[in-house]
Amino acid sequence: MSSLALPLRVFEYWLMQYRRVWRGTAITSVINPVFYLGALGIGLGTLVNKSSGNSLGVPYIDFVAPGMLAATAMTVASGEASWPVMGSIKWTRQYFAMLATPLGTRDIVLGHQLWMTARVAMTSAVYLAVIAAFGGVDSPWGILALPAAVLLGAAFTTPFAAYAATRDSDAAFVPVNRFIVVPMFLFSGTFFPVSRLPQALEWLAYATPLWHGVELCRMFTLGNVDALRALGHTAYLLLFVVVGFIWAQRTYAERLLK
C-alpha cells in the first residue's frame, strides 16, 4: 500500500479544503435529487405513465431515477475535474506547492483523482438513498448502482482533468459543458430510451460513456442484471479511466515540470 501513501497526502489537502464548504454541497446533494425526482419522476412521470401504454415496462420514476443518478455522477465529475484542476495551477498554485515536496506528478494526479472520485461517491450515495426513499430501487442489486456511478464518474474525471491541465483559462470549460456534458445529459438514455433517437444519433449515444453508465445503474436498480452486458459496460468505462489517467499524467507533467 506504500504506493498509495503519497497520493493520500494529496487527498488530505482536498479533504482539508472541503471541510470549509461541505455544508453547502451536502445540502445541494440532498435537495437536487428531491427536486428532480419530484418534478420528473412524479410530476412528468404521471403523464408519461398514462400516455405511454407502459412501453417502458416500469413506472417512469423507476426508469428515470437511475438515469438521473448516472447523469449527476457525470456532472459532479466534470465540475470537480475542471475548476479545481485549473485553480491548482493558476490560482492557489497548490500543485506547485506539492511539487516542491517529495510528491511527484503521479501522486498529484492520483491523489486528486481519488478525491474527485470520493466527491462523486458522496453525491451518488445521497442520490441513491433519495431514489430508494422515492421507491425507485426495485432490487437489492440496486446497491451496485453506487459503484457503477463512481466508475462512470472516474471515466469523466480522468480525461477532463487531463484536458483542464492543458488550459490557460476557465473559458475552455464552457464549450466542454455545452457540447459534451449537456448533450450527453439529455440524449444518452437518461430521460428516454436511446432507441427513440434517429438511427445515427442512437449509435452515437451507444459510444458515450454516460449511456454505459446509465445502462449499468438502471440494470441494478431495476434488478434485471445481465452479467455479460454488465461486464461489457464496466470494461468500456474502465477503458476511459485508464486512457484518461495516462493522458492526465502526461499533461500534468508537461504543464508542471518545464
Binding site: 494529496v10 482539508m16 506547485f96 506547492a97 506539492m98 516542491a100 515536496t101 518545464k258
Partner: protein, 318 residues
C-alpha cells in the same frame, strides 16, 4: 568531518536549460558549500529562476551535470526535495486556508506525522512573528506577511538547503527588512541558503558568495566585497543632469579633462558615474568645471556598479 560533509551541497558543471530555441541557462558552473548563503544576482531573464527550478528538481536539465546533496535530480528528485525548503517567486499558498493550516498541510506533503505538526506549526509561526494571525485566513494578509508565511512553511521539514527565488520582490522596504532579518537568523543557525535576486542591496545583505548572471551565463563569481574590489573602484561620484543637458556629451569633455584621478566613467541617460578611489577629491575637481549638474553624490561602490561594469547595463530597469 566525513567525506560526504565536505562535498559541495550543490555541484553544477556546464549546466544548460533550453526551451526549444531559447537557451535560458547556457553552460554554468558553480558549487554551493554547506552553511553558506549563495546568491544568483542578475536582471530579469538572466536565467536565475530556471537555474533555481533545476536545483529544486522540478525542471530537468537540458545538459551538463547537476548534483544536489550528492544525488541526481532527474532520478532521485523526491529524495532530494525531501531535504529542500523552497520559497518560490510566486506564492503557492492556499489563501482560503488559515496560516496554521497552510503549514500543517505542507508538512503532511512531507509525510510528517499530524501529531507533531501542530507544535511545529506554532514554532514556525512564532519564528516569523505571525502569532496573532495564526488562525486567520491567508487571503487578507499583506504581501510581506504572506512571504513570511511561505518562509515559515518552507522550514517545516527542517531543510538542509533553503531555496529562495526573489524572496523580497514586490515588498515594501519595511517588509523587506523583516524578511532579511529572519533569513539572517536562519543563516546564523547554519541553514544553507541559495537565493536569486535582482536587488544588489539584497545580495550584499544576504550573500556570502554570489555569481553575477547575465543572459544565461555567469559573468563573475566571488563575495560581494571581492567583486566590488575586482570590478569597481572604492568610491563613485554620481552626477545627475537634466536630460536636456546630454550627459553623454559632457562625458567626453570630462574624460579629456579628468585624467588620472577617475579610473572609469559610465554615462547613463540621466547621470554620469565617475569611478575613483577618492570620491571627495574627484567631486571637488568636478566643481572646478562649469558643468552645473543637478546634484553630486559621493558613495561607495555597490554590486550595481559591478554589474554595470561587467555587462554595460543596469540591473533594474527603472
Amino acid at each position: 568531518m566525513d567525506a560526504a560533509a565536505q562535498l559541495p551541497l550543490v555541484h553544477a558543471r556546464g549546466l544548460v536549460k533550453s526551451f526549444g530555441e531559447l537557451v535560458a541557462v547556457d553552460g554554468v558552473d558553480f558549487d554551493v558549500q554547506r552553511g553558506e548563503a549563495f546568491g544568483f544576482l542578475g536582471p530579469n531573464g538572466a536565467g536565475k529562476t530556471s537555474t533555481m527550478r533545476m536545483i529544486g528538481c522540478v525542471s530537468p536539465p537540458s545538459g551538463g551535470t547537476l548534483r544536489i546533496l550528492g544525488l541526481d535530480p532527474v532520478t532521485q528528485g523526491a529524495e532530494i526535495r525531501a531535504k529542500l525548503g523552497v520559497v518560490p517567486q510566486q506564492d503557492t499558498l492556499d489563501t482560503e486556508l488559515t496560516v496554521r493550516e497552510n503549514i500543517i498541510i505542507y508538512g503532511r506533503y512531507f509525510g510528517l506525522p499530524r501529531s507533531d505538526l501542530g507544535k511545529r506549526a506554532d514554532e514556525l509561526i512564532d519564528f516569523v512573528q505571525l502569532n496573532d494571525r495564526a488562525n486567520d485566513k491567508v487571503e487578507p494578509l499583506s504581501g510581506g506577511m504572506k512571504r513570511r508565511l511561505t518562509i515559515a512553511r518552507s522550514l517545516v521539514n527542517d531543510p538542509e538547503v533553503l531555496l529562495l527565488d526573489e524572496p523580497t520582490t514586490g515588498l515594501d522596504p519595511q517588509a523587506r527588512h523583516t524578511v532579511w532579518d529572519r533569513l539572517f537568523r536562519l543563516k546564523q543557525r547554519g541553514v544553507t541558503q541559495i537565493l536569486t535576486t535582482h536587488y544588489m542591496d539584497e545580495a550584499e545583505q544576504l550573500c556570502d558568495r554570489l555569481v553575477v548572471m547575465d543572459r544565461g551565463k555567469i559573468a563573475a563569481e566571488g563575495s560581494p566585497q571581492e567583486l566590488i574590489r575586482r570590478y569597481s573602484t572604492r568610491e563613485v561620484v554620481e552626477l545627475r543632469f537634466r536630460a536636456e543637458n546630454r550627459p553623454e556629451e559632457v562625458a567626453d569633455e570630462l574624460k579629456s579633462r579628468l585624467d588620472g584621478s577617475v579610473r572609469r566613467l559610465e554615462a547613463l541617460p540621466d547621470r554620469l558615474l565617475l569611478y575613483t578611489d577618492d570620491g571627495d577629491a574627484t567631486a571637488t575637481h568636478v566643481h572646478e568645471f562649469d558643468l552645473k549638474p543637478e546634484s553630486v553624490l559621493v558613495r561607495r561602490s555597490t554590486l550595481e556598479d559591478v554589474f554595470l561594469h561587467l555587462t554595460g547595463r543596469t540591473l533594474v530597469d527603472d
